[in-house]
Symmetry: C2
Subunit: 196 residues, 2 copies
Amino acid sequence: MAAKKKETRVIITGFGGQGIVLTGNILGQAATLHDGLHATMTQNYGPEARGGSCSSQVIISGAEIPYPYVEQADLLVCMSQEGYTKNLSALAPGGVLVWDTNLVKTGGHDPSWRTFDLPATAIAEEMGNKMMANIVMLGFLSAVFPAASPEAMREAMLAAVPPRTKDKNALAFERGRERGQGLLESGRAGQGRRRS
Amino acid sequence: MAAKKKETRVIITGFGGQGIVLTGNILGQAATLHDGLHATMTQNYGPEARGGSCSSQVIISGAEIPYPYVEQADLLVCMSQEGYTKNLSALAPGGVLVWDTNLVKTGGHDPSWRTFDLPATAIAEEMGNKMMANIVMLGFLSAVFPAASPEAMREAMLAAVPPRTKDKNALAFERGRERGQGLLESGRAGQGRRRS
């Protein structure tokens, strides 16, 4: 099971139109093209997706990945309430939970988790386009959970967004990244609280 | 194995920048949001992706999909020479092979396959943007291998592309679709030729 241990397993969840698949794709590209790792990205679509819920699963590994489904995640990113509720049980002990403060109300959490929240949507709106919330989140992740190297995540993001939007997205990434660095430096990362 | 038989397994292969992941995502969305089916889309990134090769695997089913990897495909779409060479052995007996005439030189094929070729890149270039080759291909597939209903594929495509580009992409889809319908009507779909 040595290979298994080297895997980093990520679930990104939100709703249609937020760029959840794009975010997963950027993470996979960053790990592969820039960091020389293996990665898979899987999206499940089901009739429940009618409600707009969607999720992207990314596995990053130093070796080939035999099974692309994430059963236990090291990182769970929640950009919708439904995504949070549905996927919380998939976060492994000791995992990292990140959510968009503007979109998710959280309950009690496993005390072994590290928790981070970020008003990604509000930051993106302030910058003029809430569709960039996923990029703000990506910048934040590059600080608090760099599944790929931060520079690789930034490069892969720039390659994935429409050319005209590069400057704005670079700024959105930076805003999120600064927020994450600030949280880490201030020691304000949360610990899970027991479910009440 | 009844559920297995109901699965439609697709591999779309090409190189970075062609929108291969987007094409897989559109197919998954079409099947789910519009046709009420289940779907998964998996992308594998590996160090070999440095060369630019990439592929997207889509499974569409009336039931939940237990294993998202495609081992034997019902449809293989090739938008690069390397994608063709690497994935040909994954096409099931009786499967459908589609390639972009501008990008792929084919060899001998299993005689049980149905084969279709389309100058997707040339058509897209003629329309002013070769980046739309994947949408031309999607329109073509809506005629020759409608893994989701053609109308669903069209709707999912329109929802996935940048709003400003909808008209051009609608036209690209239509060009590909007409080409596919023309081939079907003229009976010019190929049969596999024995490998020489």
